[in-house]
């Protein structure tokens, strides 16, 4: 029945020739798994657009209600947590996909003539994706959103001459508030989608006009060509399914909490940007003083301009990676720098003080022997013996405690504390617990 409908439409719209143009695009050298990243990126964009549209059904873009509306989606709306999860992890997925796609295109030298325009439109698309990430991050209006955006806009403010003005435009005034949220929402949901769709259409139009680049090796390219359909389409579809499975799995398995509602007066909150901005966040930690603008905007500007005009910087005719040593070296260097910074950042973020298990054991010994009968800790316990709430500050020496537990009167002659039958292990654990009772955490 579907076929009959298609025949009917084709009779009027001549769809078969459109189908032919779309699906019978020849790929020099044949279809390959290496070419899937562009389609993966497109799939992720569509996923973001769809989940984003549905989120907008319940989201309210005002400081008064943004947080509550996101909490409503998360806790009250059927599958709300899932749609939100898909959107959050989909954003990360899109950055990965764009990165891999750019890497593959760069490796294959597919930015060389006649494809320079494709590359340039691609760089602009990449910047739009970063714009989506930045504006979207503010929308939940929790502490993370608020303070991360505050820092981001302040960084723009460091640009000389126009910085302050630009920052005011982004903020919608002097302060980050209602006007910021509403313009970030409009940009994220209306302006950027229009721009990215126009960019994608242009990107794909240019692809149709210039054709896919294929292998960098002329020998392999001449082995033959294959139509886009069915093999490349099949590969793209399999990868799309795989990507969807990963994003859905993350949405289901990884908790996505909201931090507290945005509190502009709480300047103690330290925000952490999303992982794909962490390398930059880490870099900024190392550059202080007069050199700071270098890292804040000079370096990023140079890198972006370098990316944009790369087809005119690398003018070698050959697409083979081996004949582009400088390009390859720069690419590798850039990746190394970004991933090293990312690695350092992640390590610092998750450097949690390891909690000594002896403390927990000591606490159990304390409970087992009923020490609270005579000693008070943080308000709980008897007042016969001294209050032990800050025992670690009062008696910071391990040896004193060990001696005391072995025989209280050996260190405190007037003590009425009985000698408890403690093993060496219990004495050590109890001591660790005592030493942990300090004013500073």
């Amino acid at each position: 029945m579907l076929n009959r409908l298609y025949e009917w439409l084709d009779g009027r719209l001549h769809l078969k020739s459109v189908e032919k143009t779309l699906l019978e695009e020849p790929i020099p050298g044949g279809a390959s798994w290496i070419y899937v990243f562009g389609s993966a990126t497109l799939f992720l964009f569509v996923l973001q657009a769809v989940t984003g549209m549905f989120l907008a059904i319940y989201y309210a873009p005002t400081p008064d209600h943004a947080y509550d509306s996101v909490e409503f989606i998360k806790n009250q709306v059927t599958f709300g947590w899932f749609v939100r999860g898909l959107h959050h992890w989909g954003a990360s997925g899109m950055v990965v996909a764009v990165g891999l796609h750019m890497l593959q295109v760069f490796l294959y030298g597919a930015y060389k003539p006649p494809r320079e325009l494709m590359w340039m439109v691609g760089v602009v698309l990449f910047l739009i994706v970063l714009g989506f990430a930045f504006t979207g991050y503010l929308l939940p209006w929790d502490q993370t959103a608020y303070w991360a955006t505050q820092i981001g806009i302040n960084m723009v403010g460091t640009v000389p001459l126009v910085g302050d003005f630009l920052a005011k435009i982004m903020r919608g005034g002097e302060m980050l508030g209602a006007l910021t949220l509403s313009r970030f929402f409009a940009v994220h949901v209306l302006f950027l989608p229009a721009l990215i769709v126009a960019g994608i259409v242009l990107h794909l139009f240019i692809l149709r006009r210039v054709g896919p680049a294929g292998p960098w090796d002329d020998e392999r390219a001449s082995l033959g060509s294959e139509t886009f359909y069915p093999r490349q389409v099949y590969m793209d579809a399999v990868v799309m399914l795989g990507v969807f499975a990963v994003i859905a799995a993350m949405a289901i398995l990884v908790p996505l909490p909201l931090t507290d509602k945005a509190n502009p007066s709480d300047t103690s909150f330290v925000p952490v940007p999303e992982w794909y901005f962490l390398f930059y966040y880490e870099l900024l930690k190392y550059v202080h003083g007069p050199l700071e603008p270098l890292a804040t905007w000079v370096l990023p500007m140079l890198i972006i301009l370098g990316m944009l005009f790369w087809p005119f910087i690398d003018r070698r005719k050959s697409r083979h990676p081996a004949s582009r040593p400088i390009g390859m070296a720069l690419g590798v260097l850039f990746l190394l720098a970004v991933f090293s910074l990312l690695g350092v950042s992640v390590k610092n973020l998750y450097a949690v003080k390891r909690v000594d298990p002896a403390i927990a054991h000591g606490k159990a010994v304390f409970a087992r022997f009923g020490c609270a009968g005579c000693h008070r800790v943080h308000g709980e316990g008897g007042a016969v013996g001294p209050d032990l709430s800050y025992a670690g500050d009062v008696r910071p020496e391990r040896q004193w405690h060990v001696k005391h537990f072995r025989d209280p009167r050996s260190v405190s002659p007037a003590s009425i504390m009985p000698k408890f039958p403690l093993s060496e292990q219990e004495i050590n654990d109890l001591t660790s617990y005592m030493l942990s009772l300090k004013k500073a955490g």
Partner: protein, 183 residues
């Protein structure tokens, strides 16, 4: 093994897969992938959209007043402030119910909406009748229809008396039908 074009000879080895030719295998997998993604997305998304239409808010007992205020056999309109959840918003609105204290101390509570089309009706003490100003429905003190277009008697709300306080579960009912159906 990526760039060998498919052999033109259908009988050539390697041309057939468990599903059919290589070509139909690719078509089948593509359709399956699209189908799975479509299903896994559309089911949650449909649920997401119709969610508020399906969720039944648990209606709590609310205190509307003291039973001492109620004269026996005389309907009294009791006003109270209800906390209403409207999506992610929580707001307080003024609500009212009609309460009639019986001789035995039991209290009958009526929904303030006329079952005809939902207008607020009034008690006419002189005539000893509930009268609705919108389309002229008239009810007696027990809620039975005496005149007018009302399709059924006044809707009753669950009520409870505890320590002299009257508790009620506020409900809304479908207008214009003979049966009392909770919304």
């Amino acid at each position: 093994m990526t760039s060998l074009p498919p052999p033109k000879d259908k009988d050539a080895p390697g041309f057939y897969t468990p599903i059919g030719s290589r070509r139909t295998f690719f078509q089948w997998v593509t359709r399956a992938a699209v189908g799975v993604i479509g299903l896994c997305l559309s089911i949650p998304l449909v649920g997401y959209v119709i969610s508020p239409a399906l969720k039944r808010r648990e209606k709590p007992w609310v205190e509307v007043g003291g039973t001492d205020e109620l004269p026996v056999g005389v309907p009294k309109q009791l006003d109270y402030v209800a906390t209403v959840r409207d999506g992610y918003l929580e707001s307080k609105i003024l609500k009212a119910v009609w309460a009639v204290k019986q001789a035995d101390g039991q209290v009958t509570v009526f929904s303030p909406a006329c079952p005809h089309l939902g207008c607020g009706y009034r008690w006419e003490g002189g005539e000893q009748k509930f009268k609705c100003p919108c389309h002229g429905s008239v009810y007696d003190i027990t809620g039975k229809v005496l005149a007018g277009p009302a399709p059924r008697r006044l809707d009753l709300l669950p009520s409870n008396v505890q320590d002299g306080r009257l508790l009620v579960i506020y409900k809304e009912f479908k207008s214009g039908i003979a049966k009392s159906v909770e919304l």
